[in-house]
Symmetry: C2
Subunit: 211 residues, 2 copies
């Protein structure tokens, strides 16, 4: 529809999801019931139907993530953009908080000292939160690699990983690593993802809980 | 490349842009010199080469945007995610500031009173800043429509519009409206865009100035 239409503000999102549902049907894509709202919200945030083909979920992932949030899990992300996008009001209603350590001076200092990325250091610092953790990685594959190393070394076992960094260097491989662990995950295979996608996945889960 | 490689943190971005340049060449896409870094940074942030085909620039747009920032223009965006992503350090070095009025109580109140979106109201409130303004719209087509109406009514003439809302309702039409005005623009035609894309465009321009 290329003509401007009058749509009430509260109707815009509803109508958008109707168009997404319709076009998924035209493409003969049938989503699993429990994954549907997550994938549709990612398409809503990107206008990119490719996500319907590339998003990967571990067994019963969405319900596990809901259960974690219901029990007060915190969310740790690797970008301040995702932090800004995550619905902290609903999260807070269950006792959770969202964190991003990327802009901390301590993060920059530690990264420089160990010649690694601030994102990798951010993952280590998360251990200090002392709560069940959902990691939402929207930018840095190095964050996923560090999580994998920590899981393997049993230094930190995340309760859940949303692994959707975007990019061209090590992104594909880092996502595959995460899918090899026993940690429940939502990952977008391939190069695509981003802080907007990370926030959209968190919010899809939060909105279902917030109803 | 699907194998994990060791890449120094400072090399990741450089290597990413090399891959993007290479793949653009493979696709026989030749970008205009002045638009190149903007389009490449959008591809870097989205891993989506479609942007090379759909991004539209008014005459000499990138240089005009640079000149505005050099002279202390402020940036107004319709999402807190874009606000979080914009490099405010470089912007501030030229005297500029970045603003987002979406979360203001006053914005919500005014939107409710006039049955419009907070994004549309945000555009109106920008007039109070009293500085040359670059609008960076990454989410709401209603923001672009309101900008168009204000331009037509000569209520507010922005110095520059970055028009990259994403979505399914009125997004395509709202972008076309902006391209009909005399205001310099960078727009992504079609449904795609987003707060990440809006921030990437601002940053591409800021990074070139920051060198």
């Amino acid at each position: 529809m290329n003509e401007l239409q009058f749509v009430l503000p509260e109707e815009i999102e509803k109508q958008s999801f109707e168009i997404i549902s319709e076009e998924l049907k035209e493409r003969n894509i049938l989503l699993k019931k429990d994954q549907e709202m997550v994938i549709k919200r990612v398409i809503h945030t990107s206008a990119d139907f490719e996500y319907a083909d590339t998003m990967a979920f571990s067994e019963d992932a969405v319900n596990k993530a809901k259960e974690l949030i219901r029990n007060g899990a915190h969310i740790v992300t690797d970008t301040n953009m995702a932090l800004a996008g995550i619905n902290k009001k609903i999260l807070g209603g269950f006792g959770g908080e969202a964190h991003c350590f990327m802009a901390w001076e301590r993060t920059a200092k530690l990264a420089k000292e160990s010649n690694t990325t601030r994102a990798a250091v951010s993952m280590e610092l998360a251990g200090e939160i002392g709560k069940p953790l959902i990691f939402a990685v929207g930018n840095a594959p190095t964050a996923l690699v560090r999580l994998y190393e920590m899981i393997e070394a049993k230094v930190l076992i995340p309760e859940f990983i949303i692994g959707v960094p975007v990019g061209f260097v090590n992104v594909v491989a880092a996502k595959e690593l995460i899918m090899r662990t026993k940690v429940p995950y939502i990952v977008n295979r391939g190069r695509k993802g981003g802080s907007n996608v990370a926030a959209a996945i968190c919010n899809a889960i939060l909105y279902e809980l917030g109803r």
